[in-house]
């Protein structure tokens, strides 16, 4: 009868080994030895080794597929979250804030150079796309420095200069370097 018991146990261990086929060989051997030791221990405590007792013992050990699943760990709920789809929201860092400030008023603080630094920061930052960078660079070169500079230039060049005219000695002319607007 012990031959039949051995057969049943060997079948069980063979099935277990098949279920553990995906495991590394060392881990597989370790698990099989562990279960085998449990079976041997339980078998030693049996009063009589008939087929029914052995089958009962193996049932208590559990199905080899369940043992393999348990050894593999819990279902990978965490692992199912794929990390490559993570989308990082860009935050306004020093580069972005510096770029915006310098694009707008950099030319006023440090004529020409301030705005150029702003443009460099704009292109260095990854917060904007290429068309947006082109827009920021080309729409108003110089930022507010350009309109303010033009305004100051127009005001100063529009001042009247009194020049005596030879034909009419008492008349005065008002010359303007601007367009007269």
């Amino acid at each position: 009868m012990s031959t039949r018991a051995d057969e049943l146990i060997n079948e069980y261990l063979d099935r277990l080994e098949e279920e553990l086929a995906d495991f590394p060989s060392t881990r597989r051997r370790e698990l099989v030895q562990e279960i085998s030791a449990h079976i041997a221990e339980a078998r030693a405590s049996l009063e009589n080794e008939d087929e029914a007792s052995i089958r009962n013992l193996l049932d208590r050990m559990g199905d080899p597929a369940d043992i393999a699943a348990e050894a593999a760990g819990p279902p990978p709920a965490e692992a199912s979250r794929r990390p490559e789809a993570i989308v990082q929201e860009p935050r306004a860092g020093a580069i972005e804030i510096g770029a915006l400030v310098l694009l707008l008023i950099g030319g006023l603080v440090l004529p020409v150079i301030g705005w150029i630094v702003g443009v460099v920061l704009l292109w260095v930052s990854s917060a904007w796309t290429l068309p947006q960078k082109l827009l920021g660079t080309l729409v108003v070169p110089g930022g507010l420095a350009l309109p303010i500079g033009l305004g100051v230039l127009a005001t100063s060049s529009a001042t009247c200069v009194q020049v005596p005219l030879p034909a009419t000695p008492n008349a005065m002319a008002c010359s303007s370097g601007g367009s007269g607007g």
Partner: protein
Amino acid sequence: MGSILVILLAVASVATVAYLARRMNRNAVAVPA
């Protein structure tokens, strides 16, 4: 005429920077893990 141009340029400059500031927060960057 010149003053209108100046105002238009100033408005365009501010509007461009405001647009860039708004777009900065919307551009999502996919980062490989």
